[in-house]
């Protein structure tokens, strides 16, 4: 398969994954904030195709779970009643992209279906993973966009202006690179108000993540701009009386496109991870808004770790996305594969 078709396949798969998360309302059976006090810490329910008598059903079904009497976290299946899975049912209302109100869900049942189990408040984990993905992925995407924009501007300015302005900007970039980014991230976040409403917290997280990583892209862009500036076709354009802005727009910045794209593929998963880390430690998006990070925070409690293993599952949600972006980045880089990926994944 040629590189081009591999690239397209990779982008298609990533797009599908993102689309799935974007349509969280549809794929998730429940509202992520809906609590079910009767089913706290319910384990994942198993889908069956074969019933107790050995009969095969085409439509999968499950057995309702209920708390064993006298226990507060042990469940047993009620095998007397098979609840079939219903597809395309109407359920809790949601909005697509925050605008379009719909009620249709991919699947559900007459009684609560917890494919991935539920958390301490009885909230469906699958739904929370999907909606949490929206938060985490968006934070990563916007954060990466912000970093790249800042890096592009500063790198282009430094490379184009040259002289002392270039020196000064690159020294500042070096400073940012000299700081261990994780500490910088935490310090920046923590020195902003801690107890803020979820939306503001989300924006703060994005801002902080975006402001931390600009130095490396800036340096790369600067290198490209420096060499592009000296190309004869740029000088020729100057010879026709082209202004600096024209040169940048028409000739120089297009040269940076491939680097910027590759950096984007590398940075997005990193930034998603950064948001997860921040939220995991309580510095990110707070409850009740789900994010992959804050959903894992409960694992810091020993009893959760021991008894409720399904609370770990949100940690795996990131993996297919990571894989997709990794493949994308290595495809974009062509044969020079190792150098940049290692540089970034090896701990910034």
């Amino acid at each position: 398969m040629s590189t081009r078709s591999r690239l397209l396949l990779c982008v298609a798969v990533l797009a599908a994954l993102h689309l799935g998360v974007a349509c969280a309302g549809f794929f998730a059976p429940y509202d992520p904030a809906a609590q079910d006090r009767e089913h706290p810490y319910a384990p994942p329910m198993r889908l069956h195709f074969v019933d107790g008598q050995g009969g095969l059903h085409l439509r999968p079904f499950f057995y309702a779970q209920a708390l064993r009497s006298g226990s507060f976290d042990a469940y047993e299946e009620n095998r007397t009643r098979a609840i079939p899975v219903k597809f395309f049912i109407s359920g809790a209302p949601y909005r697509v992209l925050g605008v379009l109100p719909l009620r249709m869900h991919l699947f559900g049942g007459d009684v609560p279906v917890y494919l991935l189990g539920s958390d301490g408040y009885g909230r469906d984990l699958l739904s929370r993973v999907l909606f949490g993905g929206q938060v985490s992925l968006l934070a990563g995407l916007i954060g990466a966009g912000l970093t790249l924009s800042i890096g592009l501007c500063i790198g282009a300015a430094a490379g184009f202006w040259g002289g002392w302005k270039d020196e000064a900007l690159m020294r500042v970039a070096e400073l940012f690179l000299a700081l261990p980014w994780i500490y910088l991230l935490f310090a920046m976040r923590a020195f902003l108000p801690l107890a803020v409403p979820p939306l503001k917290a989300f924006l703060l997280v994005i801002m902080v993540i975006g402001a931390v990583g600009w130095a490396r892209p800036a340096r790369m862009v600067r290198g490209i701009v420096l060499s592009a500036k000296e190309r004869d076709f740029v000088r020729a354009a100057r010879g026709f009386g082209a202004s600096g802005g024209y040169l940048l727009r028409q000739h120089i910045l297009p040269e940076t496109a491939s680097v910027v794209l590759t950096q984007a593929a590398i940075l997005v998963p990193q930034f998603v991870l950064a948001e997860m880390t921040l939220s995991f430690l309580g510095l990110g998006v707070p409850e009740p808004v789900p994010s992959w990070g804050n959903m894992l925070a409960s694992l810091q409690h020993y009893n959760v770790l021991v008894s409720y293993w399904w609370m770990y599952l949100p940690a795996l949600a990131m993996v297919p996305f990571f894989l997709g972006y990794l493949v994308l980045a290595s495809l974009l880089q062509g044969s020079r594969g190792t150098s940049k990926i290692g540089e970034v994944f090896g701990g910034v």
Partner: protein, 325 residues
């Protein structure tokens, strides 16, 4: 040679200065500080509060505070922790030691594993063994640290083979020396595994790429023609030629000794610098945070500096370039 050294040192000093300024700036510009939080505590009287404020000179202008702090720093005094009410330096040092134990072990392991594996892999470039190894490392690469750490923790808890968290077991002080060592070592297994698993794929790929490239070089073919043994060829010649990017990576490894393990330490409750700093950040313990950030930056800068020195010593091209100026 000395010109080079002096320039790199000046560069490093500049970086540290800049970082300290940045850190100080951040923390003093932050809304809310330790004393505001304390004011909300009814148990602390107003006089005590203002006495404390005067003691820590919170109300002086920023430039003055920075100047005082900087001069104290040069005397080795990192300031005072508001929360613990003791000097910052010894606090940091104990925690840093714990972190270094972890990361030092992990770093040594990673390099011991990566070098031979990388060379072995580069030798068999493209063949089934190499491809299999590449896939294995790719799998490790995809799994984020957080996922891996938590996953191992869950497994450890359910299997009860290894202690899950902390550095020492209950009753540590009463153990014999050998038992103490064994205890700490057992506690180290999980976090070190995560650190190694995180760093190994990357390093391995780099070693493999660098050695593979070095193996292509004509002078190696010539050496082979002279009858030099394969093993000697690989280790003494190819690895040496591949040294340049590897030394840079080694400097990077050194540099991240203090900062690379923050997440792992928090997840595994290892009493290192990471969790300590996090706690200080949340409590707005200003001097602890600045001291911690500075310390880890010091390591980063030193790591780069050592790498520069090693490169200078190892690569004659750099020496001649520097001398030619």
């Amino acid at each position: 040679m000395t010109r080079f050294l002096v320039r790199r040192l000046a560069h490093a000093a500049f970086l540290l200065l800049g970082v300290s300024l940045l850190a100080f700036l951040f923390s003093t510009l932050a809304p809310g500080n330790y004393f505001d939080e304390m004011r909300l505590n009814p148990q602390i009287s107003a006089e005590r509060l203002s006495a404390l404020r005067a003691e820590y000179q919170v109300d002086r202008p920023m430039a003055v505070r920075y100047a005082r702090w900087a001069s104290a720093l040069l005397h080795g005094d990192l300031g005072f922790s508001f929360a613990y009410n003791t000097p910052v330096a010894p606090l940091l040092w104990t925690r840093a030691r714990n972190t270094l134990l972890l990361t030092g072990t992990a770093t040594v392991l990673v390099w011991i594993l990566a070098l031979p594996l990388g060379v072995w892999s580069a030798e068999r470039l493209g063949r089934p063994a190499d491809v299999a190894l590449s896939w294995a490392t790719a799998v490790l690469l995809i799994i984020p640290d957080l996922t891996l750490a938590l996953g191992l923790l869950v497994l450890a808890v359910r299997s009860e083979w290894l202690p899950t968290g902390g550095m020492v077991s209950v009753g540590f002080d009463g153990f014999s020396a050998a038992h103490k060592i064994r205890d700490v070592a057992l506690h180290m297994v999980l976090p070190v595994t995560v650190l190694v698993a995180a760093a190994l794929p990357v390093l391995l790929r780099h070693v493999r790429a660098a050695v593979a490239e070095a193996l292509e070089v004509p002078f190696l073919r010539a050496a082979e023609g002279h009858g030099i043994s394969r093993r000697r060829l690989l280790y003494r010649y190819a690895l040496a030629a591949a040294a340049h990017p590897l030394i840079a990576l080694f400097g990077f490894s050194l540099g991240t000794l203090l900062s690379g393990s923050l997440l792992v330490e928090v997840v595994m409750s290892w009493p290192g610098l990471g969790p300590f700093l996090l706690e200080a950040i949340l409590a707005r313990d200003l001097y602890v945070v600045i001291g911690g950030v500075l310390l880890s930056t010091l390591f980063l800068v030193t790591g780069n500096f050592v790498a520069d020195l090693l490169l200078y010593w190892a690569d004659p091209r750099i020496r001649s370039e520097a001398a030619g100026r």
